[in-house]
Subunit: 199 residues, 2 copies
DNA sequence: CAAATGACTAATAAACATTATTGGTCAAAA
DNA sequence: TTTTGACCAATAATGTTTATTAGTCATTTG
């Protein structure tokens, strides 16, 4: 019973926050749509911020589940893994409206209450990408780069840079055709040799 | 005489727009600081928008002057030119506060009156980079990429993506150390062979 | 006892009214 | 031709009033 209410609240909140954003969605409205008393929301979540944090966290969990499949696949070589990872990341974030809300907040006000969650997620993601890169180096697909973390930082600087144009300025659809080209250049930039790139 | 007043107005406007932004800078204030009547401003510039457009245009002209030196240098090979171009671009835009104002406007409201100028500038820049890339291909530094414009589009997608983090979110200083690494990966990604990259 | 409710409230946001400022104009002066 | 300074409708800013919100908690329900 308890879980059912909690889930209902989360489901309604995710939808309303996605439509109206954090500020324009009231707890009264969430309660009304979920057909619960507002006090019930506060029984399960200590604050509006905690509720939103959980909503964003769920978006991250979905992304993680997909990325893990790629990292742990034994059907893909490291090049294919890297490519899939980068493309899937963008594709899934494109359909994570509450994550976009956090990007907007970076521009207008800063949701400090989300810092921990986002930082942990970023670190997790980088960790997964690092696994792929290390696998690629061991198997001779990528050259020995010394400190892999520098490559990681560069990759993520690029990816993070694209988030505002893609998701806030709604350019993802228009720019998506260039993503493969970009990934191709990036991977060739770290490849052991051109032949390892399969065209 | 006429030119002197015009120049004074531009100089004061550039400074005040840079400090307070387009909206928070009034024509009364520009007139006061320039020690001119407001009507005099309107004699030289038909509107506040035209004045600001000229201010931004002057920032672009400074950038162009620097980039042209690189493109036309006969002391730099195409790799060095590309590197210098990309780094200089970022360096100069980092110190172009009125250009930052246009990026902010992209987020909050859109300065349509600047579209033509910005579009022309972007095209000019891409044209210069295209020259360098073509020179690199002819001299065997870069591989034959088929349509160079696709590489250009990818490069500029990355560069444009970085503008908000760098110049609006004030991350340029923190991320600058990664710029060389990024440029290195990008260039290796289009190089004819690793040896052409001089380490 | 855990889960849910609904009335309550200080704080905050929104709406409204009033005042000040602004971009732009133009006749007159230099 | 260039510059000025008074003018004004439109817009922004400010102050006041009203409405809404996040959060609380005693009570009820299951």
């Amino acid at each position: 019973m308890k879980e059912k209410t909690r889930r209902k609240i989360l489901e309604v909140a995710a939808s309303l926050f996605a439509q109206y954003g954090f500020h324009k969605t009231s707890m009264d409205e969430i309660a009304r749509v979920a057909r619960k008393a507002k006090g019930s929301l506060y029984y399960h979540f200590t604050s509006k911020e905690e509720l939103f944090t959980e909503v964003v966290s769920q978006e991250f969990e979905k992304l993680k589940a997909e990325l893990v499949k790629i990292v742990e696949s034994d059907k893909l070589n490291p090049i294919e893994k890297t490519t899939s990872f980068l493309l899937k990341r963008n594709q899934m974030l494109a359909t994570s409206p509450n994550y976009h809300e956090t990007l907007k907040a970076d521009l207008y006000e800063r949701f400090e209450f989300l810092d921990t969650l986002r930082k942990k997620h970023d670190e997790w993601e980088k960790g997964q990408m690092e696994k792929i890169l290390n696998e690629g180096i061991e198997k001779g697909y990528y050259r020995d780069m010394g400190d892999v973390k520098i490559i990681l930082d560069v990759f993520y600087m690029i990816l993070k840079g694209l988030e505002i144009p893609f998701f806030i300025q709604k350019q993802y659809i228009a720019l998506r055709p260039h993503l493969k080209g970009m990934v191709g250049i990036m991977l060739r930039g770290i490849a052991a040799s051109p032949e390892k790139l399969l065209g």
